[in-house]
Symmetry: C2
Subunit: 247 residues, 2 copies
DNA sequence: CGCCTATTTGATCTGATTCAAACAATGTGG
DNA sequence: CCACATTGTTTGAATCAGATCAAATAGGCG
């Protein structure tokens, strides 16, 4: 059942090493983490609000979203996740999920039991710190999104989101020359930024007209990085990039 | 210089014990934490975006805000803090502050050096877990605010904020009969909820007209708790209350 | 090919902003 | 204790960014 391959855990190791390199021993412990791997299709729930998970999910590849549903069907997406992310690491310390996670595109997921993660953080304080730090960076992203939703124009919000996705995917080795592949529909972007689908469509057309991006379907290329950063007031400080972001 | 009194740390201990009681030993270690106490006036910065703090701040009493300033003076407030909160605990793992903290009302602040906190979490895993958990609850509050700013009406947003403040202050022993003292101006509320001051004023008048609250200056009494919760779609799950919230 | 989902366009509406000014409360110094 | 300054609240009118409703077009994909 517990089918894992060493390569599956490499994205996580890379992530944790962003701040401080791990020792050979620490890396080995991570590689030996028992993990159950599952492939799931697009739009599948990973965990739902109210669940009490006994394991954490590591996104091995694909794309996932964190969201809450309101009574009347409105939805707020709170973050997007890519390979190497552990979007529900928080379940290690918060028993009940206060939101849901779902795949956006077909994805490969690794599940690691809480008991193994608890042992890991008890015995390896530096890994524990790196994981804690990772949850703090998540929180920093939430804060930055709050600023956008609360105080920035739709134009700036979309520009900012594109900057963030390109930056994060570059670090994960998923971008080349400011070009990325994102499975996001305009409806998803609307729900992430507190806008309507129609308005997102119109603003994207404006970004295209302003020659900031070429964006067709899943293919997105930033053609004017400086211009896009300016439009989105994007300052990557909140991503707290370590070595990886220094390049 | 290091003037501390044992009573100063009690709010923090109460907070950490929300999930699991601490041992006598653990409590003693916390009480012995070297802390420098300072009284500051209203509207004073505690730390600024870009700072690299070497200590964490524990709010002993008063009221504080977490915020970011944008280029043209717009401001987004990301959380409010009360006694027992450690709003910059994240600085233990994130070197550079990505936002600022300031007092809202005159406050008593305790400062604890990172080195002491690091020793604490190395030697007391259960305290470490409780502190980590605390930062995760902060993040949960950010997420809930995102939902409000992104998808709820101004009326619901303000109702929700009042519900949250009353709930949190009740747990901290700062409320009686759904009555609290908050030093928030309508301008601060606007900057927290992504609204304009004028609109906040009009909506508060509507809440009063609907007999949900009596709110005059710093004195706020919820006169219809169920009605206010309904109006704000308030479900306290995201606060992840433990024993304290069970009452 | 045909179905389903996404994108695009147009027209209309509205929640919330902005600007401007009056008013109330609080605090300060003489 | 009052005059004055400062900050916060309230009101009104005009405007706008973005939502909503409705329908047409365009992609993907089995």
């Amino acid at each position: 059942m517990s089918s894992e391959t060493s390569s599956d855990l490499l994205p996580l190791i890379r992530r944790l090493e962003d701040v401080a390199p791990l020792t050979a021993d620490e890396k080995q412990v991570l590689l030996n983490l028992p993990m159950y791997v599952r492939e799931v299709g697009a739009g599948q729930d990973i965990i739902r609000e109210g669940d009490r998970p006994s394991q954490c999910c590591l996104l091995l590849n694909g794309f996932a979203q964190r969201f809450k549903l309101l009574g009347d069907g409105r939805r707020q997406i709170m973050s997007f996740h890519i390979a190497g992310d552990m979007p529900d690491l928080l379940s290690l310390h918060l028993k009940v999920m206060d939101h849901s996670l779902a795949t956006v595109s077909p994805s490969r997921l690794g599940f690691i039991a809480h008991q193994h993660l608890r042992r890991l953080i008890q015995q390896h304080p530096r890994i524990s710190d790196a994981l804690w730090r990772d949850t703090l960076v998540d929180a920093a992203v939430f804060r930055e999104w709050m600023v956008g939703i609360g105080r920035r124009s739709a134009y700036a919000r979309i520009a900012h989101l594109v900057c963030e996705l390109v930056t994060r995917m570059e670090i994960a080795g998923l971008a080349q020359d400011k070009s990325i592949n994102i499975p996001l529909t305009q409806g998803l972007i609307a729900d992430a930024l507190g806008l309507s689908t129609v308005h997102v469509n119109r603003i994207i057309q404006a970004l295209r007209a302003d020659k900031l991006v070429v964006w067709r379907g899943k293919g997105l290329t930033v053609t004017d990085w400086e211009g896009l950063k300016r439009a989105g007031e994007f300052d990557p400080g909140y991503l707290h990039l370590g070595y990886a972001g220094a390049a």
